[in-house]
Symmetry: C2
Subunit: 200 residues, 2 copies
DNA sequence: CCACAAAGCGGACTGTAGTCCTATTGCTGG
DNA sequence: CCAGCAATAGGACTACAGTCCGCTTTGTGG
């Protein structure tokens, strides 16, 4: 990443947030977190969140767009941590290590993040068709992986290969694999693929 | 594949299909095909299909389960062709060629099938969460790939690797890649990954 | 040919995501 | 402090997937 700053939903909005808007945003995020924790992500409807937060449905949707946007907002801090570690943390996740090592470290770290928040990430990726690829964070992961792949495997079509690799890290795919074979084997298999691709 | 028969939705039901049921099944499939062709898969609701077919909604859902089931039924013949070619067609897609060649041929053929029917396959895979992995055909592709991977790369965790590979062939992922980079680059990238994995 | 059980039918009903439009609220310059 | 206005709030409304259950059709055994 030749990066400048973390890509993602703006923690502080463009210009200035009106006081009532800020209040309601907090209320919604708190309510959503509470409901998701108590009942599970899949069992909570947007109506329920609006009711629990004491705001109207319109407010909820205008602010977060859709379920996917709400999930992204809830994941924001964890995601930013990971992005920061990639941009400026210690190697091999951060800059300084050889590309293949960085790729392996990224996969390890990303799978940790993913499995820690599987339901939320799944919601952010599957709320609407194509949601996964519209999220700002996806573009971040993609660029990171593409740049490292280009370095590790000169001449390859790194942009497309990065999408291929990331397909295996989709919440639904990784979730199914973990359920069927356990986390360790998923991590190992992803490491195998990265190894095969990045150390030709 | 040490296979015996094609996996998928039963063309002829278990015991015997009542006359009215058969009639309605045909009416629904015809109506759905017509509507999908005219308006596009995403713009057609289940209500519209039921109305166009002149049957009740209950009928539609009892017979096909959900949107995913309807898509599978519509894809059935093309899918069975591909499965048959894999099980008993000429090499390298069919038996007889070395595993890496068969894997490459499978990816080529599958991408052809996928891109020819992208919207329908996407519908079959994303109609409900996890739909992709519940479809009988997915299990077929998975076993096929796993068996070939096990042969090409002894000692590797072929079952998990097969899922990883197939993740790149998900309709949504492949569709996004094609849109962004074109079909040729997607095919090439998938071939690259298979090559890296299967010819260590 | 008829009676009758079971398979199948259909559309009213429920729950949910997401939209829209009007009333309200908070900010800003005077 | 106040007036004006743009941003925001809220909930009624739409459209859709999927369920349920009383009614109808079909095949069968007498």
């Amino acid at each position: 990443m030749d990066g400048r700053e973390v890509i993602g939903p703006q923690p502080g909005p463009p210009k200035r947030e009106r006081a009532d808007a800020a209040r309601n945003r907090e209320k919604v995020l708190k309510a959503a977190a509470r409901l998701f924790r108590d009942k599970g992500v899949d069992a909570v409807s947007m109506d329920a969140i609006a009711a629990e937060a004491g705001v109207g449905k319109g407010t909820l949707f205008r602010r977060f767009g859709d379920k996917s946007g709400l999930a992204v907002a809830l994941l924001d801090s964890r995601e930013s941590e990971l992005q920061a570690a990639i941009l400026s943390g210690p190697p091999p996740l951060g800059p300084g290590a050889p590309a293949p090592d960085r790729l392996a470290a990224f996969a390890e770290a990303y799978l940790g993040y993913l499995f820690d928040h599987l339901d939320l990430v799944r919601m952010s990726e599957t709320a609407s068709p194509g949601a996964r690829y519209r999220i700002g964070a996806y573009r971040f992961w993609h660029r990171h992986v593409a740049i490292l792949l280009a370095e590790a495997r000169p001449g390859a079509d790194a942009d497309v290969l990065a999408h291929v690799l990331l397909a295996a890290l989709a919440a639904e795919a990784a979730g199914v694999m973990r359920e069927e074979y356990g986390e360790a084997r998923v991590r190992a298999a992803v490491a195998t693929v990265i190894d095969a691709l990045a150390r030709p």
